[in-house]
Symmetry: C2
Subunit: 135 residues, 2 copies
Amino acid sequence: MTAAAPSVLDAVRFTADGLVPAIAQQHDTGEVLMMAWMTRETLAETLETGRVCYWSRSRGAPWRKGETSGQVQTLKALRVDCDGDTLLLLVDQVGVACHTGRRTCFYREVQGPDTLAVIAEPEADPAALYGTPKA
Amino acid sequence: MTAAAPSVLDAVRFTADGLVPAIAQQHDTGEVLMMAWMTRETLAETLETGRVCYWSRSRGAPWRKGETSGQVQTLKALRVDCDGDTLLLLVDQVGVACHTGRRTCFYREVQGPDTLAVIAEPEADPAALYGTPKA
């Protein structure tokens, strides 16, 4: 996938803030890894490079997934939903997707009226991934 | 799952508009079906009834999935992501999730710089699902 893909980009409906939600799913296992946001520019970069680049709303800057942690996402396919306002990225995730060191960000499950259970343990040490001291 | 699940609801971070994105995934095949939005109230209803209820942003009203079309989603599990601002619903989808009559809303795939290809055909007739005349 090369060039700016204008007709593909024009099929996407961005919010008033210029964002579109992007769901990342591991292409072979079907595991939903995370949901983040893209701008037109980071979507174009993702299509051009084949490396997933989100938009960090907190930092107000492109977020090249894995740039710090090494836990990159390679794009295998990109799908657009029926009304063009959500993306589904089929990716190959190196290591873990979640900043907590877990494979997926969706590691908490409702298991009763007052119970949100942790259903997955970290597979990597966040301090090692990000070079920050342990809490 | 019964009662209002306050501690579970309090773990969810809603937007300033009172919404949270909810990804629906078929529980056994892993297929990502759709993404829609929930309010605190429709999330509570979903947990209480086991039937998925979104919030229709266009209608400004609860959207009990399948109420018109019969294509209901039964909740099998509900997961919350690491920062509490996205939900993953593991569901059992009756029939089709998409208003176009396709199983999933993500039926268009980027297949080149200018090509957004349709990769799935309708399995149901939208006119039959919604009782509206064909376009």
